[in-house]
């Protein structure tokens, strides 16, 4: 059984990000990069599946050469091999998913896991698009996975509840936090991962015309969201206090 995992090399969420002078991109020098946290659950689920039913886990990542660090993290957790699809830095959802789908097709996976969203783009679309392009069924935000009699049974989250679904394979699933506890890499695996060779596939290897992938969604401008905590003390009588609080939360912050 071939189990593929889609992973992404993203900036650590703790980092403070600065917007470049052109106002359209971020200065990422000196920022610590990690594996997308949601992808850790996907990697763990893939390894758990292999431990239960055998097979091979391949981590697939599209990104700049530094992304190999994230592939090594996956190897350190215990995946069998890794593939880097290069030349995808400028692509958005449409093009990126086409490149990934082409890369995955070379592996003919039976099950594909991915994290429910990448914490940089917060898009939640690449993996689902990949499944669609590959013509396989999929479900997002799964909190449980089980392979029974060649079918995948999953529980997927929706607001206010969940769906219990059964899928024919091959299929793709994106993992929600809490589906498992990602293992901490052991030292022997870390060392092995450092020495491992990672296969690289370029767009031409995948026989894709780069022009076809060009992004049609342009970033016009980036602006920092309010970062500092307001530290606004609400004074007054209790009733007035809660009324003011409610108004702020509802109208200004829109969190209610």
């Amino acid at each position: 059984m071939i189990i593929a995992v889609l992973i992404k090399h993203v900036p650590d969420t703790a980092s403070v990000l600065t917007i470049s002078d052109d106002g359209k991109s971020l200065t990422l020098n000196g920022i610590k990069f990690v594996m997308n946290p949601y992808d850790e659950f996907a990697v763990e689920e893939a390894i758990l599946l292999r431990e239960r039913l055998g097979g091979e886990v391949v981590a697939v990542c599209a990104g700049p050469p530094e992304s190999k660090e994230t592939i090594r993290t996956a190897l350190a957790m215990g995946v069998n091999s890794g593939v880097l699809i290069s030349g995808t830095e400028q692509l958005a959802g449409r093009g990126l998913s086409m490149a990934l789908a082409a890369g995955l097709a070379t592996l003919s996976p039976d099950v594909i896991f991915a994290g429910k969203q990448a914490v940089d783009s917060d898009g939640s679309q690449i993996s689902e698009r990949v499944a669609e392009l590959m013509g396989i069924p999929h479900a997002s935000c799964i909190t449980r996975f089980e392979l029974k009699d060649g079918k995948a049974e999953v529980i997927r989250e929706v607001e206010g509840g969940h769906y219990h679904l059964s899928f024919e394979l091959p299929a793709l699933f994106t993992t929600q936090k809490g589906i498992n506890t990602p293992r901490y890499p052991t030292l022997p695996n870390i060392m092995k991962a450092k020495r491992a060779t990672i296969k690289e596939l370029s767009l031409s290897d995948l026989q894709i015309e780069p022009a076809l992938l060009e992004s049609e969604l342009l970033v016009e401008r980036l602006a920092p969201a309010r970062r500092e905590r307001r530290r606004q003390l609400i004074a007054g009588e209790p009733l007035a206090q809660v009324q003011k609080l409610y108004r702020s939360l509802q109208e200004e912050d829109k969190v209610l």
Partner: protein, 665 residues
């Protein structure tokens, strides 16, 4: 005096016993040497080591820490040496009647008097210790120990047999030099009324009693019982640790030949760690001072060491036999080191406070065994308390245990005159602020105070600011050697960019690792803790302070990594006194101070059962002082939480905060 039959019998018994003794001794030696090379050269400064050992043995320095008990034990120890001569005389005398090592000199006579005297003293010693053990039942001693009873029996028995033997011989009037048997001679009168034949029979019986008792004592050494400490103890003290107490071994993680890191099997300990196990006398001083044992957690240091000892004895011989062949069964006899010999919970409970090592009379090093096992669990199996996982990740990616933005590390110093190395490039003092001092609201106040002091004293200093990252000292104590070494390399690279004379830190854990552990990574920084630094400043009168109007009674909480591990007890006290505090002394201070519970990585773990910090807070409050002072952000955090929980009005302040309160603006 013995019949030929007796001589022949004794010959076989003696050679049999000696054979058994040599065979067992050889096994015990092989079990010790089954261990790996020890990271420390234990034969360095040999003359000093021998001198120290002899002092420990003959002056009973460590045992006399408990004066009365120590005295009883001292009688037995000295008696043992005195009686060595007698034992030789006795055994040789089976074949060469009247044999005496000192011949027929006056020395022999003096010796006889001494031996008689010591027979009584030893008996007194045994009686005293037995009463203490079985009647008073002090904490730490194994209740109703059968092993101890057996040893008492044979020591006491041997002495009684000696006296009886000599008394009967005198009574039979076949003993020369009778006048010098000051005790046995008097006892001889008891047998005055006996006729010859019964007396002779008694004489032989007494001789055999004496011989067998002594042989048993020798056998008890190598069975072994804890009596083995006679040999293992002095050896262990000879080879005792001379490198810093809280210096962990630097593992070679790049070693491609290493099949495993840390310790998961008994044969992975070093020979010294094995010797420790044989030196243990099960006195329980480690446990009675251990913060986890006191609060009823899974770790009891004495049970831990004894558990390891039994494991070595049980599985060691099979392991020795299997060596050479390629069979390496996981857990010989189905017994694993971690899990069966000692529990995983026990391994994780330790706060590395060092009270066990401090109080152990035999020089046993408990902490290293625990951290070695933790290293295996973390590095090889990723098997550690799950709540540490997030902390490890945060340390790795964000450079601090809580996952705050590394870019915000110097925010505490905003609007303050705190230079940053990136701009300044060189300074006399590189002030390592530490994670707590940078991110924790309570501990930021300590940093602010320290900055105020440094500026008031006109010091040339700078901080690393955003370039500072957690040194992962606590991760190392939890067994994550890989994370620690990665952080160390990064930090050394950063430090190498700048010129500074010394590193100042407000945290004993940072202090300990920079001072004692970084040299193993090839750097040699001068490191000073802020207690020593403030003492310097006060002594050099670089600070203008105003004495307080009220002298508050203050009790100082000795942090483990400042006091026990690095011997700094006086500097913070001097600092407090110079700030006008009326220092209160109490029993559980300095070397014997109880841990706050945060060491050994426990700041990041959940605590089950009774709170160690709560226990310590009670102790500090019972001193009667109006305020508590400390010099460690971990301690201050733990104590502050406890004081708040108990609703106490007493507060905790760092010594820097106390000084800063009194600086003239």
């Amino acid at each position: 005096m013995l019949t030929t039959l007796e001589k022949v019998l004794f010959f076989f018994i003696l050679t049999g016993s000696m054979g058994y003794f040599l065979w067992r001794t050889w096994l015990l030696i092989r079990l010790v040497r089954m261990g790996k090379r020890d990271p420390e050269c234990r034969t360095e400064h040999l003359p000093a080591r021998v001198g120290g050992m002899l002092a420990d043995v003959f002056l009973q320095r460590r045992v006399l820490r408990k004066p009365v008990t120590g005295l009883f034990h001292l009688l037995i120890v000295w008696g043992f040496f005195v009686f060595a001569v007698n034992t030789i005389n006795h055994f040789a005398g089976a074949f060469f009647p009247g044999f005496h090592l000192f011949g027929e000199t006056a020395l022999a006579n003096h010796y006889t008097m001494l031996a008689d005297l010591f027979a009584v003293l030893i008996l007194a010693g045994v009686l005293g210790l037995a009463i203490r053990r079985y009647l008073f039942r002090p904490a730490g001693l194994t209740p109703r120990s059968v092993e101890s009873a057996i040893v008492f029996f044979f020591i006491g028995g041997a002495m009684a047999a000696y006296l009886l033997n000599n008394a009967v011989e005198i009574a039979i009037n076949t003993h020369e030099g009778v006048g010098h048997h000051i005790v046995a001679g008097r006892l001889a009168a008891l047998f005055g009324g006996m006729t010859e034949i019964p007396l002779r029979v008694l004489g032989h019986a007494a001789w055999w009693c004496d011989a067998i008792m002594h042989l048993m004592l020798i056998a008890l050494l190598v069975i072994p019982t804890k009596h083995l400490h006679l040999a293992a103890g002095p050896l262990n003290l000879l080879f005792k640790r001379s490198r810093p107490c809280a210096q962990m071994v630097k593992m070679d993680l790049e070693d491609e030949n290493a099949s495993s890191f840390g310790v998961s099997r008994i044969e992975e300990f070093s020979w010294k760690q094995n010797l420790d196990l044989f030196a243990c006398i099960e006195c329980g001083r480690c446990s009675t001072h251990c913060p986890t044992a006191i609060t009823g957690k899974a770790l009891n240091p004495k049970e831990f060491i004894v558990g390891l000892k039994h494991h070595l004895l049980e599985t060691g011989p099979d392991t020795l036999a299997a060596q050479g062949s390629d069979t390496k069964k996981d857990g010989i006899n189905g017994k694993n080191l971690i899990g069966d010999a000692v529990s995983k919970d026990a391994v994780w409970s330790c706060t590395t406070c060092g009270n066990c090592v401090e109080h152990c009379p035999m020089g046993i090093e408990h902490i290293d065994k625990i951290t070695d096992m933790r290293a295996h669990l973390v590095l090889m199996q990723s098997d550690f308390p799950p709540e540490a996982s997030g902390t490890f990740r945060n340390m790795e990616t964000a450079g601090n245990p809580w996952g705050f933005a590394p870019e915000e590390r110097a925010n505490w110093a905003e609007d303050m005159n705190v230079p940053v190395m990136m701009e300044k490039k060189r300074a006399d003092i590189l002030w390592w602020v530490g994670c707590s001092g940078a991110y924790d609201e309570r501990c930021k106040k300590i940093s602010v105070a320290m900055a105020k002091i440094l500026n008031a004293a006109g010091m040339d200093f700078a901080i690393l600011g955003k370039e500072e990252r957690c040194n992962c000292e606590s991760a190392r104590r939890l067994g994550n050697e890989y994370l620690y070494q990665t952080a160390t390399r990064e930090i050394i690279e950063t430090l190498n960019k700048y010129e500074f004379r010394r590193i100042l830190t407000t945290c004993p854990h940072c202090y300990n690792t920079f001072k004692n552990e970084y040299p193993l990574f090839g750097v040699d920084y001068e490191v000073i803790h802020h207690s020593e630094f403030l003492e310097e400043l006060m002594a050099a009168k670089r600070l203008q302070t105003v004495p307080p109007s009220i002298r508050n009674t203050t009790v100082f909480h000795d942090s483990c990594y400042l006091g026990r591990h690095n011997g700094i007890y006086d500097a913070p006290r001097k600092v407090l006194e110079s700030a006008g505090c009326a220092l209160v002394s109490f029993r559980e201070e300095k070397k014997g101070a109880l841990c706050c519970g945060a060491g050994g990585g426990h700041m990041w773990l959940d605590e089950a059962g009774e709170s160690i910090a709560g226990h310590r807070t009670e102790e500090l409050l019972s001193s009667g002082a109006a305020g508590i002072a400390a010099a460690c952000p971990f301690c201050i955090t733990m104590l502050t939480d406890e004081l708040k929980k108990s609703g106490s009005a007493t507060g905790v302040l760092d010594i820097a905060e106390i000084i800063a309160l009194h600086i003239t603006p």
